[in-house]
Every structure is written in structure tokens, then in C-alpha cells.
């Protein structure tokens, strides 16, 4: 009797939340997959058109460009964020003065709104840098790069500025799990700092490297706030990320069903990327 009441309590603790989760998360996702096989534009009757939306996606230049931009951006940003934050974490973990102040400064971007930070960087690129470049007679930098083919560089910079803080935090936590005597042993053996890093430090923080790569790739493949704040997709459609296209064309362009098909493809790609990343990095992790 008691164990029955027990399991009933456990059921009551989970089932309502699970149902809500299904209703507000899985149901709209399934609905999206369903819509991707129709020609519905948000109003009136609709027809099943099979895989037509998916065939059209293959020939859609805007979407192809959005995927190329999204991937280029995500790869460059993920790599840069990880390099920068690993360097900052190594420096913060070294014997330094003012370590608390430095930490406070480097983690500050983590609590700021990405959209507003992007607006601030927008001004920096569109007004401040061209002004300074003109004063210094540097014609190469005298125009707003957000209006040129280099606009994506601006979006990468703002993403690294903000994204490095969280990854630094993770790497620092990883570095602090390495006991001091490991370094001492390496010192006694006369290994250089470079060798110590690649042979000892990096393998030991490999699990943190894995997490950072997976999380960074996942968030940068879905980049949206930075694009809205910096370029709004421009110039032209040059910096439209896939999330941006799904949002803009799905809501405003009457392409509800079509962009649902795009989102389904996006889902499949993201899952594949995550699986490949985990597969590539697993097994290379070392314990001490």
C-alpha cells in the first residue's frame, strides 16, 4: 500500500510536467514537420504537396547562401572563441596579481544582453572606426565594414567578445581540476611550457574542450541576435543566418510551410553536427 502511494506521488511529480512539455515543445515541433509537407501559408485551406518544399529548397539561392553563411560564421566563431577563451583561462590560471578584478572583467559580457551589445558594436563599426580611420588617413578602414562584404567579420567580433566569457569560465574550471604536482613533475622533467601544454594540460581538459565545442557550435549555428543588432541580414542578404531567414520569411514572407521544411533540414543537420562532434572528440579524453 505504502509503495503504491509512493509511486503515485512520483507519477504526480512528473506526468503533468511531461504532458506540458509535450504540448508546448514536441507538439509544435511535430506540427512543423507536418506543415513542411504542405503548401500552407498561414491562412485558409492547404494541400499536401509531398516533398515539393524540400525539392524547392535545393534550388533556393537565398537559403543556400544562408546555410553557407551560417556554417562559415559558426566554424570561424567556434574556433576563435575557443582559442581566445582558452588563452584567457590559461592566463587567469597562472600566477598573477589582481586575479579577482580580471575575472570580474572577463565574465562581465556573460550577463549582458546580446542584442544590446550588438547595437553598441554596430555604432563602433559604423561610426567610430571610420571616423578614426579618416582622421588617421587610413582609407582601407574609412568605410563602415558592416555595409561591405566584410560585414560577417563584425558579427564574428561581437560574438567572440561576448561568447568568450562563458567558455573561459568552463576552461578555467577545467584547469583548476589539474593538480599542481602534475605541473611540478613536468617542470622537473625539463619540459618546455609549449610541450607541457600540449602533452599534459590540453589532454587533461579535453572533456571541457568537448563541451565547449558542442555548446558553441550549437549556439552559433542558431545565431540570430547578433545578426539583427549588427546588420539586420545586410548588406543585401549577405549576413542572413538560417534562423534569421526562417524568422523573416516564415512570419513576414508567407512562407510558413516552406520555412518549416527548411527548419526540418536544419534540425537534421544540427543533430548530425552534434553527433559528429561527440564522436570525434570522445575517446581522446584522458583521466589522471
Amino acid at each position: 500500500m505504502k509503495s503504491l502511494r509512493n509511486s503515485f506521488a512520483f507519477i504526480l511529480m512528473t506526468v503533468p510536467m511531461a504532458l506540458l512539455f509535450f504540448y508546448f515543445h514536441t507538439w509544435p515541433a511535430l506540427h512543423g514537420i507536418f506543415l513542411s509537407f504542405t503548401d500552407w501559408n498561414g491562412f485558409g485551406p492547404y494541400h499536401f504537396i509531398g516533398l515539393q518544399n524540400y525539392m524547392d529548397l535545393l534550388h533556393d539561392k537565398q537559403i543556400r547562401h544562408a546555410y553557407v553563411f551560417t556554417f562559415e560564421f559558426a566554424i570561424v566563431t567556434t574556433i576563435l572563441v575557443n582559442i581566445v577563451s582558452l588563452l584567457i583561462a590559461l592566463a587567469l590560471n597562472a600566477k598573477i596579481k589582481l586575479s579577482r578584478t580580471f575575472r570580474a572583467v572577463f565574465f562581465l559580457p556573460y550577463v549582458l544582453s546580446t542584442l544590446i551589445v550588438s547595437f553598441i558594436f554596430n555604432y563602433l563599426f559604423s561610426n567610430l572606426i571610420p571616423n578614426i580611420a579618416q582622421a588617421l588617413h587610413l582609407p582601407a578602414l574609412a568605410q563602415n565594414i558592416l555595409g561591405t562584404q566584410w560585414a560577417w567579420v563584425g558579427i564574428v567580433i561581437v560574438s567572440v567578445w561576448q561568447g568568450a566569457s562563458f567558455n573561459t569560465l568552463l576552461y578555467l574550471a577545467g584547469l583548476q581540476t589539474i593538480p599542481e604536482d602534475v605541473y611540478e613533475a613536468s617542470n622537473i622533467d625539463g619540459a618546455s611550457a609549449w610541450v607541457t601544454f600540449w602533452r599534459i594540460t590540453f589532454p587533461l581538459i579535453m572533456p571541457f574542450f568537448t563541451i565547449n565545442m558542442v555548446l558553441a557550435a550549437k549556439s552559433y549555428l542558431q545565431v540570430f541576435d547578433q545578426v539583427v543588432g549588427m546588420t539586420n541580414g545586410g548588406p543585401g542578404t549577405a549576413t542572413q543566418s538560417n534562423t534569421f531567414v526562417i524568422y523573416t520569411n516564415g512570419f513576414g514572407g508567407g512562407e510558413l510551410a516552406y520555412q518549416s521544411a527548411n527548419a526540418v533540414v536544419f534540425l537534421i543537420i544540427l543533430v548530425c553536427v552534434a553527433l559528429i562532434q561527440v564522436r570525434l572528440t570522445r575517446g581522446r579524453e584522458v583521466q589522471f
Binding site: 502511494r5 590559461l90 570580474a104 544590446i116 553598441i120 607541457t196 534562423t243 518549416s260
Partner: protein, 274 residues
């Protein structure tokens, strides 16, 4: 790579340059916000000859600052409180029943949902929510609670593995039921993870842009980031006004960060290394 015996000046110089890179845009934002357009045209980075606090007053009036701030606070507060209360409970039931198939499947279901990108549910979701009459602040709170489950249940279940069973069993022998055990024994024991989940949820709900953008149809209910987006055209080229407004929007979280920096960093780290 960086030496470990005496003060490492290479690391110090690197960190100083890095700190300047972090602080420079914030410095620029403050300088822009304190000038009038004429002075801004002369110099962006210099100190203003006369400080124009009026920009902040005007920005507050334009964006209905206190109202918008209360919207953000309302949404964030209820998202955080309800998330901590419900997710800890769900995770407790799952963690203590992992040997049962139902709970194991439920755990895997929540975990798998972490890989589903938001764009795939975004379009149908907005229609669903407006049909329910929930395209508002309340609906937004519900969605933050729902979409946080994957990550938070994962964190809580990981943490509960290290919470000993003895106390629960003792309470069970004393005749307490599961609900009592959870609220008076387990929930307090999970305090460190509650803090982590609260901070992660709070930062997310407070700074989020995409969900409020698609969900909130009534400008009266806009959050602080969303209102900056909505008012872009009103600022037009009055950058000082825009920057005063940006800084006002960032200010509450910066103040929280200044006072709770160590606590926030420690708890986020704890969540991250689970």
C-alpha cells in the same frame, strides 16, 4: 604555457590588453550617452565638457523605462521561481526511479529535446500560443519554464546522485510521505543546484530576445531588450539617446553582477562542469 612560480608578467600583460578590449565598448557607450549631438560630432571618445543627463531622462520617457523594467522583472521572477520549484521536483522523481523504464525514458526524452533547435517549433508555436490567448507575458513565462526542462533536469539529476539516500529513508521510516520528504528534506539539500538553475534561468529570461520578439504582440508588455529593438527607428540618428537607453537596459543586470559576481560565477561554473 604560462609559468607558475613567480608572478607571470606575460599573462598579466595579455590579461590587461584583453580587459581593455572588454571595457572599451562599454566606455564608448558611456561617453556617447553623456553628450549632445553637437559634442558627439566633435569627439566620440573624449570626456564631455558638460554632462547631459537629459539623454537618460528622455530615454526613460521614450521607452517607458520603469514599466518595461517591471515587465522584464515580472517575467524573469516567475520564470525563475517556478522553474526551480517544478524542475527540482521532476528531477527528484526521475533520479530516484532511474531503474524504472518510464522514468528512464522520460529522462532520455527531455535530454534528446536539447538537440531540437528552436526554429523548428517557432512558426507553429506562435499560432498555437495565440489560439490559446497566451501570446503575452504569462505565455512567455510558461515557455521559459518548459524550454528550460532539458538542461535543468540534466543538472539536477546529476546533482542528486551525490545526495545521500539515508536522510530520506529515515524520514520515510518516520512516516513522512514523498511530498513532505521532497519539500522538507531533499529540496533544501539541493540548494547549491537551485542557485545554479536560478542564475542560468534568470540570465536567459532577462536577456532573451527571440522568444519575446515572436511571442509578445502588445507593446505594453515588451521586455527591456525587445523595447530597444522596437525603438530603433525612434532613436534614428540620435545616438546619445539610443546609448542612454542601451545603458539603462543593461544597468540592472550589471548592478546585480557587481554585487553578486563571485556567487554568479561560482554557480554557473558548478552547472557547467556537471
Amino acid at each position: 604555457m604560462f609559468g607558475r612560480t613567480k608572478t607571470n608578467w606575460v599573462a598579466m600583460i595579455f590579461l590587461s590588453i584583453g580587459s581593455l578590449c572588454i571595457l572599451f565598448p562599454i566606455y564608448m557607450a558611456i561617453m556617447v550617452s553623456l553628450k549632445n549631438p553637437q559634442e558627439l560630432a566633435q569627439s566620440v571618445l573624449g570626456f564631455p565638457t558638460q554632462i547631459h543627463w537629459g539623454n537618460f531622462q528622455q530615454a526613460m520617457a521614450v521607452t517607458h523605462y520603469f514599466h518595461t523594467f517591471l515587465n522584464s522583472l515580472f517575467i524573469t521572477f516567475f520564470a525563475v521561481v517556478l522553474t526551480v520549484l517544478t524542475h527540482s521536483m521532476v528531477a527528484y522523481a526521475i533520479a530516484r526511479n532511474m531503474q524504472k523504464r518510464f522514468f528512464r525514458y522520460l529522462y532520455n526524452y527531455f535530454f534528446a529535446a536539447m538537440f531540437v533547435p528552436f526554429p523548428i517549433l517557432m512558426l507553429p508555436l506562435v499560432r498555437q500560443m495565440s489560439h490559446l490567448g497566451l501570446a503575452d507575458r504569462v505565455g512567455l513565462i510558461i515557455l521559459y519554464i518548459i524550454y528550460g526542462i532539458s538542461q535543468n533536469v540534466f543538472l539536477y539529476v546529476g546533482y542528486l546522485k551525490s545526495v545521500p539516500l539515508e536522510l530520506e529513508e529515515a524520514a520515510l521510516v518516520d512516516g513522512a510521505n514523498r511530498w513532505r520528504i521532497f519539500w522538507s528534506v531533499v529540496f533544501p539539500l539541493m540548494a547549491p543546484m537551485n542557485a545554479t538553475v536560478a542564475i542560468l534561468t534568470g540570465l536567459w529570461a532577462w536577456n532573451d530576445f527571440l522568444l519575446p520578439l515572436v511571442m509578445l504582440s502588445n507593446p505594453n508588455q515588451y521586455t527591456l531588450p525587445l523595447v530597444q529593438y522596437a525603438f530603433q527607428s525612434q532613436y534614428s540618428t540620435n545616438y546619445s539617446l539610443a546609448f542612454a537607453s542601451y545603458l539603462l537596459a543593461l544597468l540592472p543586470m550589471v548592478i546585480v553582477y557587481i554585487f553578486c559576481q563571485k556567487w554568479i560565477v561560482n554557480n554557473v561554473t558548478k552547472g557547467a562542469i556537471k
